[in-house]
Amino acid sequence: MGQWGNGAMKTWPHCLIAALAILLASCSRPPAPLEVSFVNPSGGAYLVRVSGLSSAELKALEAAKLDDTAWQRVLDVRVAGAERPVAGRYVMAAGYLDFVPTFPFGPGLRFEARFDPTGLPQPRAAEPIAASWTVLPGQPRGPAVVVSAIHPSAGAWPENLLRFYIHFSAPMSRASSVGFVRLVDDRGAEVKDALLEMDVDLWNDDRTRCTVFFDPGRVKRGIRPNRELGRALRSGRRYAIVVDATWKDQWGQPLKAAFRHEFTAGPAIEKGISTADWRVTPPAAGTQAAVEIAFAWPLDRALAERTIGIVGSDGRPVAGNVSVEPGETRWRFVPASPWRAGAYQIVIDQSLEDVSGNQIGRAFEIDDRDPVAGAPRADRVFLPLTIKSGQ
């Protein structure tokens, strides 16, 4: 500050003369030709810029503290043909009046800007000037998206299946699965009222996986939709899940192709998961071989990936890589470092479910005469895992 002050003091006369010259020039300068244009200063987001206003006019605009309506009388920016202007703020900077939209101008649309000099606080007798600009549509940054997987991946789905997951090769639009995913029978006819048609956001965060629920009112026994229509899947029959190619990706382009997953409906699974029925294959100490768990029947893939882990004797998680094999009947864990001989535990969060919503020791449909079955319980289950040397 001190240095700036000293320096400024030394150059005072020059600074003063230059400043006064600019000030006088701007005051005496006749109004410059007005121009309105869509610009993106420094390659940033586009805005609307009015040039040719005098510093006095800009200062008066700043001092006028206009409300939205008055601002729009001065500079109106809207989607071509729209009844309402675009939301944004008005900024006076570097000799310009800028309109900065709150959101970037939407791709593929034509925008119109109209500046009316008679709306200025010190009206200038001049005709309104206008500009228009069409934003190029967003360009897809990759090839058309495909359905990369569907889970359960097995060729047989229990007739009381509660949900399935559709995976995509790249992020999709926000649209839910309603209208894009159908259940069809072996004659190709759509099974009506099979899937939950709710516009609830069931995507993962990067929109590469969408969860689709069967209508639980038909899956659950005894509820009116179930009594009226029965379950959508009937054991022994063939079906297909069909994903329509018109479902759009994040760039608005359709899928590369429709997708079809055929399966046979099997008997309902109406019992709790029993970890006693799992086959655990422990690896040998000193190796980085996988711990493998073979399930008695397929579990929900997303939950099996997320809710099963290994902890050491100190209770701390063991780092490693989890995979669930196709068919969702086998879980594998490869440690980041070699196993040490000793006691470990397999830890399972109680939110683990099979594909029909059955949990550990608790069927999806609980016998309401059993006081224990639905009672609150611990959040996690632990199974012993002993790693021996020399195996």
Binding site: R78, P104, V200, L202, N204, G222, R224, E305
Partner: protein
């Protein structure tokens, strides 16, 4: 000295012409929404807004933005197009996620997601009695927030794709009650937390069950609910994903409790509830429930106290009577406007319309 003053003046004049001056001055940082979904007004006009992506509920103090110039809400045909124009985009590029009517200004607040994929941005707009649509300046709002309870991953490498969508929320007797649906486990937890939010109270979750008619109980996510007093006891009247209408005492929402809703009506396939409002007409209380495909149902609450639980299968319509309102179709959003009217957003002929509708 005079020379010094003149120079200072000149420098100030030049500086004011070259420095950015916002017509609307930037305010302190407001709530950092990453997405915006269900809305509900609470005490003193606080607006609760759910952010699914951040697993957070924001409590917004709207301040001067609680009201536009004109009280009430004017009908707007093509409201999706009109909001899209305000946001500088096309109607196909926005999604209206909820509406809520301010308790005193009667302006309608609309939560909107603009854009697609990772570029989607949240917006909150206000519609007043003159039909003016204003973008609420979120940056300017004072707020508090609370994080939704999310299960920690057990796996060290789980794909982390779990998300929970808030299906409904409401302020009930000093607590904010939140219902949700997970995109993985069949979660049916109803979570409640005292409001004003306190850092020391993380709230209580209860697992909601539904007693079927085959001696079985199942977890039952709540899609929509309203608080309602039945025989002097505050109840939650809720619509499940599997379509029944149930009730359970509010006092049962305590951590660790298992709550089994008592079925008081059955609606059948395709009647997943979207929104529920409570209103009074001719001295009687009614619930109006919009649902996924079959329009709007009107349910008189008078029998709620005496209606026995539906515990055995009944042929056809079961439980308390309800009436299908044939004149209200395509309803996607519903809220109570005043003593005589509801506000709805309907989807018809490819566009969405906002209108006030006389309560049936």
């Amino acid at each position: 000295m005079r020379l010094l003053k003149l120079v200072v003046l000149v420098v100030l004049v030049l500086a004011s012409a070259s420095m950015p001056v916002a017509a609307r001055p930037p305010a302190a940082a407001g709530p950092a929404f990453t997405s915006i979904g269900p809305l509900a007004f609470g005490p003193g006009g606080v607006l609760f807004a759910a952010d699914r992506q951040a697993a957070t509920i924001f409590a917004l103090n709207l301040g001067a933005q609680a009201s536009g110039k004109t009280p009430g809400t004017k009908d707007i045909a093509g409201v999706d197009q009109q909001i899209a124009s305000l946001l500088g985009t096309a109607a196909t590029d926005i999604a209206i996620t909820d509406i809520a009517v301010h308790p005193t200004s009667k302006n309608t607040f609309v939560s909107v997601m603009r854009g697609q994929g990772a570029n989607a941005k949240p917006a909150l707009v206000r519609i007043d009695g003159a039909g003016t649509i204003d973008l609420v300046t979120l940056d300017a709002l004072a707020f508090t927030s609370v994080t939704l309870p999310n299960p920690a991953n057990v796996s060290t490498t789980g794909r982390g794709g779990r998300a929970s969508s808030v299906t409904d929320l409401a302020y009930v007797d000093g607590r904010l009650v939140v219902a949700g649906l997970s995109n993985e486990e069949f979660a049916s937890k109803l979570w409640s937390v005292p409001y004003p939010f306190a850092a020391t109270d993380r709230g209580a979750s209860v697992e909601i069950y539904h007693g079927n008619h085959a001696a079985v109980e199942t977890r039952a996510p709540v899609m929509a609910f309203v608080p309602y007093g039945i025989n002097g006891q505050l109840n939650i009247v809720a619509g499940y994903t599997c379509t029944p209408l149930v009730k359970f005492p509010f006092s049962t929402l305590k951590a660790g409790e298992k709550v089994v809703g008592t079925t008081i009506a059955e609606f059948g396939a395709g009647n997943q509830p979207l929104d529920m409002i409570l209103y009074k007409k001719g001295g009687q209380d009614f619930i109006l429930m919009s649902n996924s495909r079959h329009g709007v149902l009107k349910i008189a609450t008078a029998p709620f106290g005496s209606a026995g639980a539906i515990t055995t299968p009944v042929k056809g319509t079961g439980g308390v009577p309800f009436e299908r309102i044939a004149t209200m179709t395509g309803v996607e959003q519903l809220d109570l406007l005043d003593g005589e009217r509801s506000i709805v957003i309907t989807f018809q002929d490819g566009r969405r319309n906002l209108s006030a509708v006389i309560l049936p």
